[in-house]
């Protein structure tokens, strides 16, 4: 025999289909915003750390021997991974954009360039490098990227703020939409709510009916939105992974790791909780005025 427990709130297809779509779309946007923000963040952070560790040393009026000597001593510093003097070809390649092809005129003095990979976690090696240059009586400049990296970090802070605002805005929209829908459902189902009341149902019980209804709806819609976001992300990862070079480095690096999966799972859960919360508040508030 049947369970004889038909849900007390009848399903109203048209209205709930629209609501399903709206909540699903909100979750899709929220998940996508979270995923791309995380991707951009990861890429920018890696890039920032990299340029921060890059130090260029220009040495004038020096022969290659002395320069190599300096590089050796710089490499020996605790906060340096590696130091290397660029070959003449490498320097020419670097200068090509300003001098044109064909290399440097032979008589021109070419500065020696040393690139240093610093371990910034230990400390800024610039003063020590300058010390090495002084020791060897080399006239040179040490140019780091610390200031530039600072800018990147500042931009990341803004990015994080923007992403959080987007997610907060989408959540608030979801709550408002559900509250609105609950109110509409409550009005449309006034007859049922009245009979339940007169049959001795407590407000909590009636709120529970709406809570359960919208919790399940939002959970399903949120899952749909998440799956759509997952598919879009997968598409970007697959089509984007082919391109290499600078653009690939600067584009948000989307990949699906553990935390991305967490985001995709948490999004529908948040939507469901927001829906419960909105439904409960709306029902309890509007029942308060009835007898």
């Amino acid at each position: 025999m049947s369970k004889r427990e038909t849900p007390l709130l009848p399903v109203s297809d048209a209205r709930e289909a629209a609501l399903f779509f709206v909540v699903g779309a909100l979750c899709f946007l929220a998940a996508l915003a979270a995923l791309t923000t995380r991707g951009t963040y990861k890429a920018a952070e890696a890039w920032g750390a990299q340029i921060e560790g890059d130090i260029t040393v220009v040495m004038r009026d020096t022969d290659r021997r002395t320069a190599e000597q300096a590089a050796e001593r710089v490499t020996a510093l605790a906060s340096v991974f590696e130091a290397r003097v660029l070959s003449r070809e490498e320097v020419e390649a670097l200068l090509e954009p300003s001098l044109g092809p064909g290399g440097m005129p032979d008589g021109l003095p070419v500065p020696m360039l040393m690139v240093v990979q610093a371990d910034t976690s230990v400390g800024d090696p610039s003063p020590s490098i300058e010390g090495v240059l002084d020791d060897l009586s080399i006239d040179g400049d040490v140019a780091g990227n610390a200031g530039y990296a600072e800018n990147v970090r500042g931009a990341l802070g803004v990015l994080r703020l923007v992403a959080l605002s987007i997610v907060a805005l989408l959540s608030a929209t979801a709550v408002a939409v559900i509250a609105f829908a609950t109110h509409a459902a409550l009005l449309a189902r006034r007859d049922i709510v009245d009979v339940l009341h007169l049959s001795g149902a407590e407000d909590r019980y009636i709120a529970g009916l709406f809570e359960r209804r919208f919790w399940i709806l939002a959970l399903q819609a949120g899952l749909g939105g998440s799956v759509a976001a997952l598919m879009v992300t997968a598409l970007i990862v697959f089509t984007g992974s082919g391109s290499a070079g600078v653009e690939a480095q600067l584009l948000p690096r989307l990949s699906l790791d553990f935390w991305d999966i967490v985001i995709l799972l948490v999004t529908p859960l948040m939507a469901g909780l927001a829906a419960r919360f909105a439904a409960r508040l709306t029902v309890l508030a509007s029942l308060k005025d009835t007898l």
Binding site: P10, I192, D194, L198
Partner: protein
């Protein structure tokens, strides 16, 4: 079940003191009504259509608040009830609505079981009780039928079964025999009388059916122009 104090047994089940009701659109429907229904009493309420019978009953089953005056149920003043107390009080009252108010998407069984269900009971615990009651009102063949497929009289019997399933201390019935044949009408009223005698259920029935009233030896209240009077011409004097 939670009970609301005080519940002194000599307190009347219903007591109205100077109760008036004014609807926004229609104006004053009830004026200065004083009324006492003792516990275990059986009373008819009659009067012309539009006199305010249903409105008076609505005040008693707490669907409306009076514009003026006080209503006490089981000795408890009702104007200052907390939400939970309101629900608890309503569970002690069974109501047969004039317009049935069945839930269309539920079956006869589920409609009858509603008061038990909202009180948190599970179908296993009330299944037999509900089926017995449905059989008794002649709906043994319609247990799992959705209520919109039932005739008017059948729907009325479902609503009567729903009012009784909770074993209420106070039964308020608004035209409970309006849609059934005289035979079924008598059967229903005899059940009410039996409940009244055996269990001591306080019963108030609003009806137009004077023939039915004559068959029972019970006081009759007459409502007209918003005023209440005890009618001695009808029914046996008490």
């Amino acid at each position: 079940m939670s009970r609301i104090r005080p519940d002194l047994s000599d307190e009347p089940a219903v007591r109205l003191d100077g109760v008036s009701l004014t609807y926004e659109r229609t104006g004053e429907v009830l004026s200065e009504i004083d009324l006492v229904l003792k516990q275990g009493s059986f009373t008819f309420l009659t009067g012309p259509s539009g006199a305010g019978k249903s409105s008076l009953l609505k005040l008693m089953y707490l669907a409306h608040a009076p514009t003026r005056g006080g209503i006490r149920l089981f000795g408890r003043q009702t104007y200052d009830l907390k939400r939970k107390q309101l629900a608890a009080l309503r569970r002690r009252i069974g109501v047969v609505f004039q317009e049935f108010r069945l839930l269309d998407h539920l079956t006869a069984f589920e409609n009858v079981a509603l008061p038990l269900r909202v009180a948190g009971q599970k179908p296993d615990s009330y299944e037999n009780e509900v089926i017995d009651l449905l059989r008794w009102v002649g709906l043994g063949e319609r247990i799992d039928t959705p209520t919109p497929s039932l005739s008017g009289g059948e729907q009325q019997r479902v609503s009567i079964a729903r009012a009784l399933i909770n074993k209420p201390e106070l039964l308020i019935a608004d035209e409970p025999t309006g849609n059934v044949d005289p035979e079924m009408g008598q059967k229903i009223l005899r059940l009410f009388a039996e409940l009244n005698k055996r269990v001591g259920t306080t019963i108030l029935i609003a009806t137009h059916d004077l023939d039915l009233i004559r068959e029972f030896d019970a006081p009759v209240l007459r409502l007209s122009d918003g005023l209440l009077a005890r009618d001695t011409a009808l029914g046996a004097a008490t």
